[in-house]
Amino acid sequence: MDCERIEAALLAVVDGRAAKQERERVEGHVAACGACARRMEEMQGVWSDLDSLRAVEPSPSFDARLRARMAEQPARPRFFEWMTGNMRLVAVVAALVAVAVWISLRPTIQRPAPSSAQAQQDFAVVKNLPVLENYDVVANFDVLSDLPGAEDTSTQPQSLE
């Protein structure tokens, strides 16, 4: 009679998450209803089929590699932590503009033979810029911002079919 409601509750019984009361309600119905008993059996079949998607153990070097990556992380400039998102953006843009101006003015002052110290200085600036730019990525908590929305069919960027 209320097979539809039983059907909706079957999964929680099969996966073991149903509360005792709910489980007993479903089991009571299933004992007397052939159609639902079959549905439950099918559901259990799928559930146990999935056991064959084996788990894997992380390789022995997992932790060592993680530690290496953790050590790599850039030290945060202290003052940066005090700024809000917009201020950070302004600071990054200002830094970029300053560098651009500096680079465009520099050749007129000192063209003939850029010393290796000069070159190294250039390199240091260029090397440090991505650190600033990456900061917001690093600090971004909303890691799910591009997970597809509640409607899995409509908002999917690429279909798997």
Binding site: A8, L11, D15, S48, A55, L66, A139, D152
Partner: protein, 216 residues
């Protein structure tokens, strides 16, 4: 703190030290600079996370790389950690997002490749089988496992994440829903559709599915 009771209630899949403090306490320790707390979170979630990611991307090296990235993000965000959402919700949200991005990237990559190359590279897949897995695995079982992998892989990505979290991680409906950013009832209908699709696709396997018991 209701949160603390919740996380203490589950512990089947994770090797929980009976004396362990809760994840929230461990994470607060990490925030305070306690190296050992991070160590313990790592020990507890390393395997579940790598396994989840492996089932998502079907490649161990990629799975490990993404799992490390997830731990790295947790570590980098430690200073901003506020006990609120469960730690596992946070961790699996990060992992899910990383996995989906990785899959999209490799799909894009494959598409680009296929323009000027015949599909020699099928991407991450069953070809990557480590020695341990081959022990006692007959050809029939292999074939069967491949069909199941393929059926799961063919699910729309959100359904796939839902199934993998639901089947293999010891998480409640409410938590899985939070990881996916949907309501609990939306999750249930998502799972219902997913298992229905799997049932249809795996139907030819049914005869020998007996005796396998109730799973975990």
């Amino acid at each position: 703190m209701a949160e603390l009771q919740l996380s203490a209630a589950t512990g089947v899949l994770y090797n929980l030290d009976p004396m362990a403090t809760t994840d929230v306490e461990l994470m607060l320790g990490v925030k305070a600079g306690d190296e050992a707390c991070f160590e313990r979170l790592l020990a507890k979630y390393r395997t579940p996370l790598v396994s989840f990611l492996y089932r998502m991307v079907r490649n161990q090296a990629t799975a490990e790389d993404l799992a490390q990235e997830a731990f790295l993000r947790v570590f980098r965000a430690r200073k901003d950690y506020v006990p609120g959402a469960k730690f596992t919700t946070w961790l699996f949200r990060i992992a899910t997002n990383l996995a989906l991005n990785s899959l999209r990237d490799s799909r894009r990559h494959l598409r680009d490749l296929s323009v000027d190359q015949t599909d020699e590279d099928q991407g991450p897949g069953l070809d990557v089988i480590d020695p341990a897995a081959e022990i006692e695995e007959t050809l029939v079982e292999r074939e069967r496992a491949k069909r199941i992998w393929d059926a799961v892989e063919a699910l729309p990505e959100k359904q796939r994440v839902a199934v993998l979290l639901h089947k293999y991680q010891d998480l409640g409906y409410d938590e899985i829903a939070r990881i996916l950013g949907c309501s609990e009832s939306a999750l249930k209908s998502l799972l219902f559709r997913a298992y229905e699709t799997l049932r249809v696709r795996l139907a030819p396997l049914a005869p020998d599915a007996t005796g396998a018991g109730k799973g975990k």
